[in-house]
């Protein structure tokens, strides 16, 4: 089986035509995971036994001719900040090292109902704070294109698990670029949906007004299917959309993009941008023009201040959300303590890693007396300005295009000593979260050193359909071969 090129559709067809059974399929996937994941390290927890059990049930359903679910038998990976009943959910933190949720996140519930098989929980930056997956308390995940480089973050395990062919579909979360940037670094497709389109119930909170769960996959169609499977309203998330939502993206994905208006924000293609990234993205823009879209350059001067506003707002929310980790009800608890205060202080000091502490500290600072007005309030007001500027832009353009990341995948350890330098890597993705709009990253080519380059498509709230259609059309035109040749020493 050529697993690394399997799509959801080829799996469905293979199962239905009895080319292979789901047990055979899962066995092959686990063979591949067991062979290569010791080098890539995508997974914190693997669920081999449960997966094969579930696959057997799928095979029985097929044999009996029962009605099959939307993702029946399809292997998926889940980022380790999304709660899975009875499966350890660590957030890649010592704080939740032994945490076994008593319930499924709504997304997981939907996936199970649709017949998907959860193969494991993927590595990430601790509490989703980071852009390289180096902040995991357990181990560093490697980029399948070059194992000396980071896979991006914070959904680095999700992106690498897709790129390495361990699963055809992965679920991550995106607070400031955490799906799109690792998708770009690993050469896969990933979407951050409109805020509210996917329920956050059971997603361990980082920045509640910014967080959103989304899929990553090898192709645009699979990414669209992955979103369809989990989108919709949920009474357990008061910020989720209010009405039923059943848009079938595949109905229109092949309709072409003739007549669409695409805006290019010139500040997103500034001089700081890596030259190879600029050139590949420019080539893609030319390709889009050839495909019949109208291209126009315009000014959207939000990158610099947007990054500041993002780090202020997200850290403020993180400091509040992470206040719950006190060693009382669940999670890590310090060994020795005299009193209640010491229990909390020692638990938090020992349980959180450096980056989580840094964000809690920044958040506490910008919310503290005397700084609230100067930082937090101003950042929240600036956020409104970002929203307005995007709204104005989308009154003129259907889709906005930019690179996903201003830099190529960097070497492991290259940026760990300079947090600000790491934060600057998020310049092109964070404003999307401030505005709550959807955005997708897809591969558009490679650097000379064969590192993937991602292009980002943004659209107005709930306009995922336009994004998928544009991305699919470009994908068919560029035909980027995004399966890495993993030259790994296999024991």
């Amino acid at each position: 089986m050529n697993l690394e090129r399997f799509t959801i559709d080829s799996i469905k067809q293979g199962l239905m035509s009895k080319q292979f059974s789901d047990v055979e399929l899962l066995t092959e996937y686990f063979k591949r995971i067991n062979k290569y994941d010791m080098h890539i390290k995508s997974f914190i927890t693997l669920c081999e036994e449960e997966s094969l059990k579930k696959a057997k049930e799928v095979d029985e359903k097929i044999a009996k001719g029962e009605k099959l679910g939307f993702l029946e038998g399809v292997p998926v990976s889940i980022k380790d900040n999304i709660c899975t009943n009875t499966i350890k959910t660590t957030c890649a933190s010592k704080m939740l090292n032994d945490f076994i949720p008593p319930y499924d996140a709504s997304v997981v519930k939907k996936l199970k109902e649709s017949g998907a098989v959860i193969v494991g929980k993927t590595n990430m930056d601790e509490f989703a704070m980071g852009s390289s997956t180096e902040n995991s308390s357990f181990f560093k995940t490697k980029n399948p294109w070059d194992i000396d480089r980071v896979p991006g973050g914070s959904s680095g395990g999700a992106a690498s698990s897709t790129a390495a062919g361990f699963v055809p579909l992965a679920y991550g979360s995106d607070t400031g670029g955490s799906i799109r940037q690792p998708a770009s670094f690993c050469g896969v497709v990933g979407i951050k949906p409109t805020y509210g389109l996917v329920s956050r119930y059971g997603l361990i909170a980082f920045g509640s007004s910014l967080d959103q769960i989304g899929p990553l996959a090898g192709t645009v169609k699979d990414c669209a299917l992955g979103l369809e499977a989990v989108q919709g309203s949920d009474t357990k998330d008061s910020t989720s959309i209010k009405e039923e939502y059943c848009i079938n993206y595949l109905n229109t994905i092949e309709d072409g993009i003739k007549g669409l208006k695409i805006g290019i924000p010139k500040e997103f293609l500034s001089e700081d941008l890596n030259k190879e990234i600029k050139s590949k993205v420019s080539e893609s823009i030319k390709a889009l023009e050839k495909l019949g879209v109208e291209i126009e350059e315009f000014s959207l001067p939000i990158t610099e201040t947007g990054l500041s506003a993002y780090y202020i707002v997200s850290s403020a929310e993180a400091s509040s959300n992470l206040g719950r980790y006190d060693g009382v009800r669940y999670g890590y608890r310090t060994d020795k303590f005299e009193d209640y205060k010491e229990l909390i202080l020692k638990t938090r000091t020992e349980g959180f890693g450096d980056e989580a502490k840094r964000r809690i500290m920044i958040g506490t600072y910008v919310l503290s007396s005397g700084y609230y007005d100067a930082y937090y309030k101003k950042a929240m007001i600036y956020r409104q300005k970002v929203k307005k500027l995007f709204k104005d832009a989308f009154s003129k353009y259907d889709v906005i295009v930019s690179p996903t990341s201003p830099i190529l995948p960097f070497k492991i350890g290259e940026k760990t000593n300079n947090p600000l330098d790491m934060y600057l890597a998020d310049t092109l993705t964070v404003n999307v979260n401030l505005a709550g709009i959807p955005a997708l990253s897809m591969p558009c080519g490679f650097s000379k050193s064969k590192l993937p380059i991602g292009i980002q498509f943004m659209a107005d709230h709930f306009n995922e359909e336009k994004i998928f259609r544009t991305a699919y059309t470009l994908e068919q035109e560029l035909k980027v071969d995004n399966v890495p040749q993993m030259k790994l020493e296999v024991k």
Binding site: P102, K242, T364
Partner: protein, 94 residues
């Protein structure tokens, strides 16, 4: 903007974190860099915009209904120290 070690220690206290002297020193340095970047926000003209000017709609509230959680035992699966159905913690009130 320069941040002093004393300020860092004060913030750590508010955040229920304990930093070593070396950590506090490092964080003061990092904070100064990060806050300088945050100063971008002070250069922006934000006249006439309120905190929620362009938010579309308010959150949806669900009915305040009691829903029985089936697996009560599983709810306590992650508790470190228990006595019957209560969680044990050190004495809070003297």
């Amino acid at each position: 903007m320069k941040v002093t070690i004393k300020e860092v220690e004060y913030i750590a206290k508010l955040a229920n974190l304990k930093l070593t002297e070396k950590e506090a020193e490092k964080m003061a340095d990092e904070f100064s860099g990060i806050l300088t970047h945050f100063d971008n926000i002070k250069k922006e003209n934000l006249d006439g915009i309120q905190m929620y000017s362009f938010d579309d709609e308010s959150s949806k509230l669900r009915d305040d209904k009691v829903i029985e959680f089936e697996n009560k035992e599983e709810l306590f699966r992650n508790v470190k120290d228990m006595s019957k159905t209560s969680i044990k913690i050190p004495k809070v009130v003297e």
